[in-house]
């Protein structure tokens, strides 16, 4: 896998993980282009598209798009599986995850991803093992500044979309 992007339906980037060394400029360009391309696709279209010399695999969960770039020989279906597995991990960790969890705890989202994928390859296929590793690492954290689940009311517009569980739609 070359990179993974999470972005909202409004085109806001929520998480990015690059497994290939690229300059910031290049990253921004790719992100902009891909977000546009993926958002322009109709809802009933398949999850794959050919883009430059890469294959893009994306899936939408509630208001959030998960988008991965893989190489020509890579398996699209297993990439979809990876995306799904990551969403499941987030869901287990946050407990019925929604976009707001990822926005406000974005470092946690990264930590989970890093336990699941390393250098673009799946390092642990067992969900249980990933969660165990994360929990134990969290225990080491001193001030368990545990995330206050935020009240949607104070967060302004669009919150209802962002606070809907990723697995609900």
């Amino acid at each position: 896998m070359q990179f993974m992007l999470l972005f909202s339906r409004q085109g806001k980037l929520r998480l990015q993980k690059w497994y290939v060394p690229l300059s910031d400029k290049e990253k921004k360009k790719i992100t902009r282009e891909l977000v546009q391309t993926v958002l322009a696709r109709k809802p009933k279209m398949c999850s794959f598209l050919e883009w430059r010399d890469l294959k893009i695999v994306y899936k939408r969960y509630a208001s959030l798009y998960f988008c991965c770039a893989i190489e020509d020989q890579d398996n699209e279906l297993i990439t979809l599986e990876i995306i799904h597995r990551y969403v499941e991990l987030l869901d287990k960790y946050f407990g019925s995850v929604c976009e707001l969890d990822i926005i406000f705890n974005f470092e946690k989202a990264y930590f989970i991803l890093d336990e699941f994928l390393l250098g673009g390859e799946a390092q642990e296929t067992s969900k249980k093992n990933v969660l165990k590793a994360i929990e134990q690492a969290d225990l080491l954290q001193e001030n368990l500044d545990f995330q206050i689940r935020l009240f949607p009311g104070v967060l302004g517009p669009n919150v209802s979309a962002e606070s809907s569980g990723l697995f609900q739609s």
Binding site: S23, C46, F48, A122, E142, V154
Partner: protein
Amino acid sequence: MALKIVKGSIDRMFDKNLQDLVRGIRNHKEDEAKYISTCIDEIKQELKQDNIAVKANAVCKLTYLQMLGYDVSWAAFNIVEVMSSSKFTYKRIGYLAASQCFHEGTDVIMLTTNQIRKDLSSPNQYDTGVALTGLSCFVTPDLARDLANDIMTLMSHTKPYIRKKAVLIMYKVFLKYPESLRPAFPRLKEKLEDPDPGVQSAAVNVICELARRNPKNYLSLAPLFFKLMTSSTNNWVLIKIIKLFGALTPLEPRLGKKLIEPLTNLIHSTSAMSLLYECVNTVIAVLISLSSGMPNHSASIQLCVQKLRILIEDSDQNLKYLGLLAMSKILKTHPKSVQSHKDLILQCLDDKDESIRLRALDLLYGMVSKKNLMEIVKKLMLHVDKAEGTTYRDELQHTCNTKLCNCSTLILLRYISILVELTRLEGTRHGHLIASQMLDVAIRVKAIRAFAVAQMAMLLDNAHLLTGNMQRNGICEVLYAAAWICGEFSEHLEDPNQTLEAMLRPKVATLPGHIQAVYVQNAAKLFATVLRKHEGATDSQAAQETSQLLVERLPLFVQSANLEVQERASCILQLVKYIQKLQQKDVEVAEEVSALFAGELNPVAPKAQKKVPVPEGLDLDAWINEPPSESESEDEKPKAVFAKEETKHSRPRHTEVDEKELARRREARKQEQANNPFYIKSSPSSQKVYQDAPGVEHIPVVQIDLSVPLKVPGMPMSDQYLKLEEERRQKEKAEKKKKEKKKKREKHGKGKKHDSGPESEEDITPAHHVDIVTEEMPENALPSDDDDKDPNDPHKVYDIQGNLQDGSQVVVSVIFENKSDSFLKSMEFNVLDSLNSKLQRPEGAGPHDGLVVPFQLPPGVSNEARFIFSVQSIVMPQKLKGTLTFIVKSEDSSTHEKLDFKLHFTCTSYLITTPCYSDAYAKLLESGDLKSSSLRLEGVNMPFHHLLARICFHHHFSVVERIDSCASMYSRSIQGHHVCLLVKTADQTVSIDAKCDEPSLLGNVLDEIKQTFSQC
């Protein structure tokens, strides 16, 4: 007090953690940038604190801002500080920030080496874990080199958690520091049999990725992987192993044979679609690489196709898409197996997902055969009508155009109507393609001409529908084909009168120039047909009405800004006026008029011209014809109008040739014009039509272009007018040469007396009249019968033309003509090379050796030899001195003689007439890479279009655009320099602004242009 304030603000700063920042940004939607810049200022303050917790908090916020697109590279050192914290909480944040923000160019990375090494060997496995994770993102070649050993040690760590991370990161290390692969490989291989499945899977991952880059080093692992494949139940691992085998099989066919069975077993048994898909793909790859020697592989293919069918039938769009994708791979080697699922694929054309429709179309494109063509075409036509989405529609039309042809007559009938239907769709970009296909089919297949002509006549009649929107004028290219087909095969027209009327509507003048030109030319052809029809029915009234129609409508075209249209229209207008005069005297003219266009156009095989043997004594380089002299009046014969423009340039030199002979030759030339398929396609843009069309090799008329023996390639050969100009120029040149030589000969005291009166060159028509139907190769050519030479002139002539070939090789063809009464033999041609231009001599020959001319010359005979020169720089004109030595053999004696000559390579001769569209031209000028220069010519007294023609003919330019007395012109050198001219004229003064990427080339070309005009 002050301390209190400071402390308070510190507290506040510390209070703003990541969540506060995120919330703050969300509450400042209106002035986000301003809010963030104050936040960054705060963060800068926080980073100055000694408290590591404050710093970590700041770095965490920066990581978030980095994702939003803000530059945080200035904080790289602070990130390193946080990474080095002894507390896991902060270390974790530091490494996360580093993995997001660092890249190979970050210079502080080299400061991290020792810190990372320390973390790697930390007793806490999570410290080691975050270090490995971070490193996987920002590893540089230096880090890889310095830390390779540490990571290798970790591959044998007691904790599987560390082992698997270490194994995975080794792949990144190998990429950055390949030297580490050799020492690490034995341990990596060991990990394939690690007791922990996670570590094992990581090792499979790494080896699979390595093998994809360089399969042959991993062949030896095949047995081990084979064992793993049959024992493993983890689909993730299986997919990787199967992928690895896919990379290995092309190197080892035996492996492929062995794989088929377990793979087919997996295909049968697995319920995981991802694994199934991987297996199918690998089986296809294996079968492709085996290609032969597998007797029972059809069963495997059948299985794959069956499984893919299930995928395609699935309601899941993703599976459908992948199924079609894999199907197209099978199609390449086993088209029959796929064709049997045509129904399913046709169904996919109805899918609501455009990407699936495109895939299906792609597949259909490859599936078409004679048998299923009709059905597929029918289905596609239904789709063209309702197709949504421009990409899809263009793709659809492209498929229709390019693939669905070349079959039987019946199909072609259908094909023509398809093409016609396609034109009805607005907004296609494939006008060129459709036009060339129409021409191709109509020219090649006699049986369908009548049908094609009827369809084309309809098109012409409804032309206003096509041209309604000039923005999308791609489709009006079709009219080019329609007009030509109707004109050329006008005998099939039901109502030529109506078509003629349609072709002369005022609206036609809005079409692009090259199409108008075809309209005008073919209107003349139609006119001939109509006349004959009316005279056959002795309906002189109707015939006169038709002439009147032309006389009324043609002046519109005479005013055209397009040179080509103008010229043709004025020729034809004069012709029609003359005919009208004859008609009023009740003279029957139809026969004569149709003689102008007599002869049938036949397709010629691409290599036909090459196969025609040059008959003995035929000199392909002699001129075809003398230019007619001014003394002939225009209306002397109706056919003379074709030479009208020509007469203005020619000089009355050839009075000795009797008028009858001249008339006969003119007749022959006009015949040829009518037959010459290029004649209608002379404008630069129309040539482009063919260059664009992919099926160019199917269009025989273009091919002949290469082998017509007039050796100035790149010139639009089709243009007879150009050709004559060129011939005239050559003649002048030859004449000059002749005079030089005469002088020399006289010095040698060898020359006989010659009369200074006018001379005639030989008059041989070239072997153009190749008569071929359906692309057979010609057995012979028809040489012209007149071969008369002027016996009075004892001198030899040669004519040198630069013939430009690819790169910087220049072929010079030299015509040797023996004008003496003696036999010439043992001719040797030698040139004194310059640093820049060298005669190419055979291998082994010295740099001063002459080249033997491969023929002897009996008295009065001429022949041509070609010599290749390599030219380094083309920006300067060149003069090369040379000598020809030969033996003169008369009845009683033989003497050795020599003749000196000079070869003049002008800069112009390095230019190739290259058509250029005005938008491409504008882009070129805008690019700013070109240097400019200019030229003024005073006292040029000629019409502007003659001036342009002159520049085109003498200097190989093409007109890009002409507006009133201003024209842009373009040419390209053999080394790819662009030369652009802007020519303006006012009161006998011509100003030329020129641009070229090579200033000295430009200067020389301009000098040469100046010279051309000073001579006239």
